[in-house]
């Protein structure tokens, strides 16, 4: 579903993503670990078509992103580190607007249900999102993924700054989406959440995939050691 083939991106001669090969199949949650500047966000931008690759190819649902980024984005839901919404609109209005832009129209009842499924308290749905916490905004992001019935989900450090309870709740929603066949690529620093939620983990160093592991095969302690080992290598 989400695939990169020898994907390469340079900024002013500096390599940000270096011949990266990735494949995230439907129902998989792939956690992309790596330090700051490793190329995680650049990879997501390349998959979204916000950046053009210097070499190689990003594919979504088998089609080249560079050839038709608009069509590629139609299959994707994207949740950044901070889901940004329109503060003068309520949660329902934001979801209505974004899901309409994503090509899906829903009734008000459906939208409220989607927000509930994403874990947003019922009383918050009609409140202006200017009053929302970060966790609540992230839930609207999840609701948007549900509303657009995206086949793939790109997450860029989605739990950063969330308290443990909100982070846990968010993880449960992700697992549920993966269980429904959504391909999820999550860039994160959070080794614990990666080990808990992902089906596979990739460690990105200097734009290159330094290691790739099935989470069933490694324990928490091992993951930290592996991560540090790849960084020092």
């Amino acid at each position: 579903m989400l695939e990169t083939v020898k994907l390469t991106k340079r900024f002013n001669g500096q390599v940000a993503v270096n011949e990266l090969n990735l494949l995230v199949k439907p129902g998989e949650l792939f956690a992309l670990l790596g330090p700051n500047g490793a190329g995680k966000t650049t990879t997501i931008n390349l998959l979204l078509g916000f950046l053009a690759p210097d070499a190689g190819e990003a594919r979504v649902n088998g089609a080249s992103v560079a050839a038709d980024p608009i069509a590629a984005r139609r299959h994707i839901a994207y949740i950044p580190e901070q889901v940004m919404l329109y503060p003068r609109f309520s949660g329902v209005e934001n979801l209505d607007y974004f899901s309409t832009l994503g090509g899906r129209r829903h009734t008000r009842e459906e939208l409220v249900t989607l927000l509930k499924r994403a874990g947003l308290p019922a009383e918050a749905a009609d409140r202006r999102v200017g009053t929302y916490s970060k966790g609540m905004r992230q839930k609207v992001g999840i609701a948007l993924a549900l509303a657009t019935e995206a086949k793939a989900l790109l997450l860029d450090e989605p739990t950063s700054g969330l308290d443990p309870a909100a982070s846990h709740e968010f993880s449960l929603l992700l697992r549920k989406l993966a269980g429904q066949g959504v391909a999820i690529l999550m860039a994160t620093h959070d080794l614990f959440r990666a080990r808990e939620d992902a089906t596979r983990i990739g460690i990105l160093v200097d734009g290159k995939l330094a290691g790739e592991y099935a989470t069933n095969d490694i324990k928490h302690m091992d993951l930290e050691k592996l991560y540090l080992k790849h960084l020092r290598a």
Binding site: R74, M84, L85, F98
Partner: protein, 472 residues
């Protein structure tokens, strides 16, 4: 999708308290400007009508005198204020409202309203036209500077584009939403203007409603161009603050700098003579002929010889009419040629200056709009010229009748016999018919073309910039 974006944009703007305050200020200012102008135009028209009636009474009751003296007694004629001066006073404050018609002289309109104004006029006059020309673009700037740059900064643009929205659709949707928000403010002002026009006596004179419709089109083109420019700047600016600063500089250049620079430029390229120089040159041409080699006395002597020959006489006294009357007629004809030549040259020069200023509008659209707006409102120079020509034609008709009376009334010797009310009544009161809408449209055409080019160019630029819209 475009309609969803437009709807969201409209609601977002409408819910913004800052916009509501700014919009209320602009609408109230425009409304007050219209109301005051309506009162002012009504008062001025009533004053001029009353003055014209009084002047007619004075003319009819001037008593008995010879017709030549009546020619010097003269009459004042008053320029009726165009109904759409309610909206745009144009040059009205700076050109005279009254012309004194007398024998031998073509006078320029006098009594400029600006001469009676206080020093506050230096700060400009608030009319609905200046409000729409200067304040409405400022409102558009405040409305649009963050439309794309602000979304980029906040991160919502990234969110929107990640959903597969075509940047062009996004930009078009925003333009429509913001355009509707602007229309919601300005349509009531236009309706208020229509009500003011409808409630003005003879408000429909000179095809006012057709002109009003064209004015609406001209201002819509102007604001559409400004909207597109603002969105294009917002699309390419890295931050909302950069977009705002850029747009404010553009606004100041368009609204403050361009009109002054363009006028100075036009005066430098096509200078007009000072009033004293103009009067001196004309007086000299009257005395010496247009070619400078045909002195008036010599021309009149030749004319006397031709007349005597034509009538088979050797002495003027033998002619069957008062020769002085005929001389006056010939003298007026010769002077008329001089006046026509000099005034046409001056007026052509002033119109050429206006054309330079209007076409400079290709750099600053306000100049194109101002020209079109004044022309359509009937307050531009071409329509002042139309009035001046009509007043001069009336003067010539009036002087001709008096001179013919002098020529045919042989009883009183040199200046003819005494005439009275029956002759004064033969001379109709001055009645001015404003030019038809076609005249106004011809005068407005260059300005409208400038606005059309601006709107077409700005929207093309916006649509070219849109696909390059970057989320960060």
């Amino acid at each position: 999708m475009i309609s969803a974006i437009a709807r969201k944009e409209f609601l977002d703007v409408w819910r913004d308290g800052r916009f509501r305050i700014a919009a209320a200020v602009v609408v109230v200012l425009l409304g007050v400007a219209l109301l005051l102008a309506w009162q002012q135009v009504q008062r001025a028209r009533a004053e001029r009508a009353a003055a014209a009636a009084l002047e007619r009474e004075n003319w009819l009751n001037q008593g008995e005198k010879n017709s030549h003296s009546a020619g010097h007694y003269g009459v004042y004629v008053f320029k009726p204020l165009a109904p759409l001066a309610v909206f745009d006073r144009g040059l009205e404050p700076f050109v005279g409202s009254t012309v004194f018609l007398e024998a031998h002289r073509q006078n320029q309109a006098a009594f400029l309203p600006a001469q009676d104004a206080t020093a506050m006029r230096r700060f400009g006059e608030l009319t609905a036209a200046t409000g729409l020309q200067l304040l409405a673009p400022l409102l558009v700037v405040l409305l649009t500077f963050g439309a794309l740059a602000g979304e980029r900064e906040r991160g919502t643009l990234r969110q929107v584009l990640s959903l597969g929205v075509r940047p062009r659709d996004l930009v078009l949707g925003k333009a429509i939403g913001l355009g509707v928000a602007l229309a919601v403010l300005l349509v009531p002002v236009a309706l208020f203007g229509a009500v003011a026009l409808a409630n003005l006596p003879e408000g429909d004179a000179g095809g006012s409603w057709l002109r009003f419709a064209w004015l609406g089109g001209a201002y819509a083109l102007y604001l559409a161009a400004i909207l597109a420019v603002c969105l294009a700047v917002s699309a390419v600016a890295s931050t909302a603050r950069t977009a705002l600063a850029t747009l404010l500089v553009c606004w100041a250049a368009n609204a403050v700098l361009a009109p002054r620079l363009a006028s100075d430029f036009a005066q430098r390229v096509l200078p007009t003579p000072k009033l004293a120089e103009f009067e001196t040159a004309m007086h000299k041409a009257v005395q010496e002929g247009l070619d400078g080699h045909s002195p008036r006395q010599q021309q009149l002597q030749e004319f006397a010889q031709q007349t005597l020959k034509k009538h088979g006489k050797t002495r003027i006294e033998e002619l069957p009419f008062n020769f002085n009357g005929l001389v006056m007629l010939e003298s007026e004809r010769l002077a008329g040629e001089v006046f026509d030549h000099h005034f046409a040259k001056l007026w052509d020069r002033l119109e050429a200056q206006d054309r330079i200023v209007t076409w400079t509008g290709l750099v600053a659209p306000l100049l194109g709009l101002r020209a079109a707006s004044m022309a359509l409102a009937g307050t531009d120079f071409t329509q002042h010229r139309h009035f001046s020509v009509a007043a001069e034609q009336h003067r010539r008709d009036f002087v001709r009748v008096l001179n013919e009376e002098m020529m045919n009334n042989t009883a009183g010797g040199h200046h003819g016999g005494v005439a009275g009310r029956s002759l004064w009544e033969k001379l109709p009161a001055f009645r001015y018919d404003p030019p038809p809408p076609a005249h106004a449209l011809r005068a407005a055409a260059p300005g409208l073309m400038v606005l059309f080019l601006w709107a077409a160019g700005a929207w093309t630029a916006l649509l070219l910039v849109a696909p390059r819209l970057k989320p960060n």
